[in-house]
């Protein structure tokens, strides 16, 4: 049996910190409630019950959703968790992002990050998950990521609604002189059925806020849910179809300045010199300043209009120094391969004895393959931007971001202001995909605001700046080998995956100085923790010393591992002469959740039924972020070009809180993955990224978009994520479909390096 101490030593930094932190602080402090940040700044007649709810005497009810709304629908579904228990309709509430505060820590993101497969419910796995959740609270990490918002809010936010409801009932009981137990609540009112009297929450709010909340409230059983489990119209939709100024890039103040940045395109490279003489003569240009940040070296132009700032930035003559990173892709691949060759990998799970199984394997039973995935930009639709104002000793930052607590840390570091003098306002996000966890765009805005004498300044990046600067999804290289048995199924599988560490990069950027040595389980996510049963199996991870900054990119390690691992599974199925879907059924026989998905997929897609010669199907399966997903992609040969014609997705997130939104997330995740698989890459030449705009870093368009058919199952018994899990399997399913069509096995992404697409 593996001890927790051993796991701490062999897992990545946050895991280790989690275990150490959990033990050192103990659970006592963990039980202490965190301060309700809404108490500060209540309006006249307004009362707050907990960090999620404000009720005013005029019946305005505000629900705080402490996770960024970046398209995934968190605003509506998270608010519905509160509304369900509070007994109000979604029409009765206003939803806000709320301030940055420790009370909004996300423990699920860390809990789910524990280095165990989602289906591992052993005592060790659960203990480490709990310890990591504790550390989530100590780090007070408020962030949106890891497809964790619902898992995190599911208990907390329903409990917040239920506790407030019971407190309002207690206040009504006092007023009406009846026992609280005889009262009911509905649509924002407490009702005394006997007397027919009712009181609105607004009438009760101020009194109720003075009562100690009951400690033993009961949550509604699922059968009584009115909102959850049913599709809700998204609350952010009306503003978004009418073009309201709700995004970071829309922030506006009367005396605001407009700026842009230009940073060394070579990651980590310095700025040798810059000459702004011409730029400063241009209309509207106020200042050109050097920026020397942990995240980039370069300059900013401050002007009275964004376009004038863009134009002046082009007129600045700048000399960049070379960065320390790899010069081109060939060098990157050499470093990745060399890391594996040097040995010393780590593993998180193994079965049998793969080394022995390969030692005496007959040549004809061996299958080997090497796969590659490139660096990728997130290319959110809204380019990076943030607005900052430093005035009268107070820093305000308006930022479309996924991690407001990180902006507070950065702001305090730069301005030396106390935590309560820094306000972070999270706007709507024009896409996040992990990019907006990063502090760079807020850091630059704060630095620029320190130069504008109290005037607010909005800093907008050009698209070129956005795409040609990371942090990127890391490149990765994997080698797989298998030994097939006489029945065609694998007796042994061994993988080696090399990639730079996302966790070390992120921790280093947020809290420089923390040690980032040790393994990073993100390198193996999607490879080591899949529900295949293979007698001898191990995947080794290697942290490659590529210095290009790398970040979370929708589904993180799964985004490359699923392509590689699931392509290899497909290769094994063909080598063993077993139908690829049947192959997976056999190896996943121990997991009924997976079998139900594969069976449903088979029926929906008419898998195995002959179609005409120009069409073929491929299948792939990934369990990520607690959600089990199987996908079939159908491709069509159109005069030598591949059209992605149809995609079938069957997903099991355990429980679906909003089926319509869940399906929208599956569709979004698949299209995001297809965009990458078909044609995206950040390649390097002379140490710098070669792509700069949608001309050379395009994404799927309307005319390329397949029909997407989605089915939801609810068997897994664990609430999984929605935002990311559809992305990983689609890339492999596409590659596998192409192989089924024409026998061409493409092992390197993007696939359009070897075949053309419509």
């Amino acid at each position: 049996m593996v001890s927790i101490g051993k796991i701490a030593r062999r897992t990545f930094l946050v895991g280790a910190a989690a275990v150490a932190g959990g033990v050192a602080f103990g659970y006592y402090k963990y039980r202490q409630p965190l301060e309700n940040p809404l108490k500060k700044g209540l309006a006249e007649g307004e009362a707050t019950f907990n960090p999620y709810i404000k009720i005013a005497s005029d019946n305005r009810i505000t629900v705080i959703v402490p996770r960024a709304e970046m398209g995934q629908g968190a605003f509506t579904t998270l608010a519905a968790l509160v509304a369900e228990e509070l007994d109000v309709t979604l029409d009765q509430i206003t939803i806000e992002h709320g301030p940055a505060a420790p009370a909004y820590y996300n423990d699920a993101a860390l809990r789910e990050g524990a280095p165990f497969p989602a289906f591992d419910h052993s005592m060790v796995a659960e203990t480490v998950r709990n310890a990591m959740g504790v550390v989530g609270k100590f780090l007070a990490l408020q962030m949106t990521g890891g497809s964790s918002s619902l898992a995190d809010g599911y208990e907390k936010m329903r409990l917040a609604g239920a506790t407030a409801r019971e407190t309002l009932k207690a206040a009504a009981a006092q007023k009406l002189g009846v026992p609280a137990a005889s009262l009911k609540t509905e649509a924002g009112k407490v009702i005394d059925a006997k007397s027919g009297k009712s009181l609105t929450y607004g009438e009760l709010a101020l009194d109720a806020a003075r009562i100690d909340p009951p400690s033993d409230v009961a949550l509604k059983p699922r059968a009584q849910w009115k909102l959850l489990g049913k599709p809700q119209p998204r609350k952010d939709m009306p503003a978004k179809v009418t073009g309201q100024p709700i995004f970071g890039i829309d922030v506006q103040f009367p005396d605001m300045l407009y700026a842009t940045v230009k940073m060394n395109p070579q990651p980590g490279g310095a700025m040798k010199s810059f000459d702004a003489k011409e730029a400063l003569k241009m209309r509207g240009v106020k200042k050109v300043i050097a920026i020397d940040s942990l995240y980039g070296k370069g300059f900013a132009v401050i002007a009275d209009n964004t376009w004038r700032a863009f134009k002046a930035a082009d007129a600045v003559k700048v000399v960049w120094a070379d960065g320390p990173g790899h010069r081109d892709d060939a060098e990157a691949k050499k470093i990745l391969a060399g890391t594996i060759a040097a040995g010393g990998g780590f593993s998180l799970r193994s079965s049998g004895d793969p080394d022995k199984a390969f030692a005496d394997a007959p040549r004809e039973k061996l299958v080997e393959a090497e796969y590659y995935a490139p660096f990728l930009s997130h290319a959110t639709m809204e380019p990076m931007n943030a607005t900052a104002r430093l005035k009268d000793g107070v820093l305000d930052v308006w930022s479309p971001n996924q991690a407001p607590s990180v902006i507070k840390i950065i702001g305090a570091r730069l301005t030396k202001l106390a935590d309560d003098k820094i306000n972070v306002h999270t706007t709507f996000l024009g896409g996040g995909f992990g990019r907006r966890i990063e502090p760079d765009f807020s850091d630059y805005a704060i630095r620029i605001a320190m130069e504008t004498e109290g005037r607010p300044v909005k800093v907008t990046w050009t698209r070129e700046e956005d795409i040609s600067h990371g942090p990127y999804r890391p490149a990765a290289l994997a080698r797989y080998r298998a030994r097939l048995g006489n029945d065609g199924l694998p007796v042994a599988v061994h993988g080696s995956v090399a990639s730079p560490s996302v966790m070390a990069g992120m921790v280093g950027r947020i809290m420089p100085g923390l040690p980032t040595a040790g393994p990073d389980n993100l390198i193996l996510d999607g490879a080591y923790n899949q529900p295949y049963k293979i007698p001898n199996e191990r995947v080794d991870g290697y942290k490659a010393p590529l210095s290009t900054p790398v970040a979370s990119w929708r589904s993180v390690g799964n985004s490359f591992n699923a392509f590689m691992h699931e392509s290899f599974m497909d290769e094994l199925a063909h080598a063993g002469k077993i139908d690829p879907l049947e192959f997976r059924r056999k190896l996943m026989a121990d997991y009924p959740t997976a079998i139900a998905i594969l069976d449903k997929l088979k029926t929906l897609s008419d898998w195995g039924k002959p179609i005409d010669k120009t069409r073929a199907q491929g299948v792939a399966f990934t369990l990520s972020f607690g959600t089990w997903v199987g996908e079939v992609v159908q491709v069509k040969d159109e005069n030598g070009s591949i059209r992605v014609e149809k995609v079938w997705i069957v997903a099991d997130p355990g429980m679906v809180l909003d089926p319509l939104n869940f399906k929208a997330q599956m569709m979004s995740g698949a299209i995001y993955g297809l965009s990458a698989a078909i044609g995206q890459q950040i390649s390097f030449a002379d140490g710098a990224p070669q792509q700069s705009n949608f001309s050379d870093y395009d994404a799927m368009r309307m005319n390329q978009c397949p029909d997407i058919i989605i089915e939801i199952l609810e068997n897994s018994g664990h609430l999984g994520g929605a935002g990311e899990p559809a992305t990983p399997p689609v890339m492999a399913a596409l590659a596998n479909a192409i192989y089924a069509l024409n026998g061409k096995r493409i092992r390197s992404m993007p696939l359009n390096g070897e075949i053309s697409f419509v």
């Binding site: 970046m70 398209g71 629908g73 376009w307 004038r308 639709m381 809204e382 995909f433 994404a699």
Partner: protein, 153 residues
């Protein structure tokens, strides 16, 4: 110079080569048209001029002689244009950043072609990128709006 937007004439003292997008966003505080690429590649900045869907980032403000229609003048939350209503009915939107451009492009399409085929929709809409992958619902919403237009609903 004069610039007419959603029926209102504005007086501006700016360079004629400033892209219409930045005149609208930074000079007039009309924030409906979005900045996505600045190079005519994504459609986030789409406005309608003389009935044509036009990329505001590629149009010099000095060249604009007619009224510019932006989403800000299309409809309000309590009085939606039928295309916006169709968007709502199909629950199209995710992050929403591309959608002002998508909607304006769809409005221009339906004004010239009230019953677009799938191919017409592909041709008209493929210049409008959506990183959230809302295309299937955009298509459904355009068809719904077209059907409503037909019956006069």
């Amino acid at each position: 110079m004069k610039l007419q937007v959603n029926g209102t004439v504005h007086e501006l003292d700016i360079e004629p080569d400033m892209p219409l997008l930045w005149a609208l966003r930074d000079e007039l505080n009309i924030k409906g048209p979005k900045f996505g690429c600045g190079a005519g590649l994504c459609g986030a900045c789409t406005v309608i001029i003389d009935g044509q869907a036009t990329r505001a980032c590629q149009t010099a403000v000095g060249d604009v002689k007619s009224n510019v229609r932006t989403i800000d003048g299309l409809g309000k939350p309590d009085a939606l244009h039928r295309v916006q209503q169709a968007w709502l009915d199909e629950q199209v939107v995710q992050c929403g950043y591309c959608q002002a451009g998508q909607i304006m492009n769809a409005v221009a399409l339906l004004e010239t072609n009230p019953t677009p085929s799938d191919k017409d929709i592909d041709e008209a809409m493929s210049g409008n990128l959506c990183r959230c992958g809302t295309y299937p619902r955009i298509r459904a919403a355009i068809k719904r709006a077209a059907a409503g237009q037909q019956t006069g609903a």
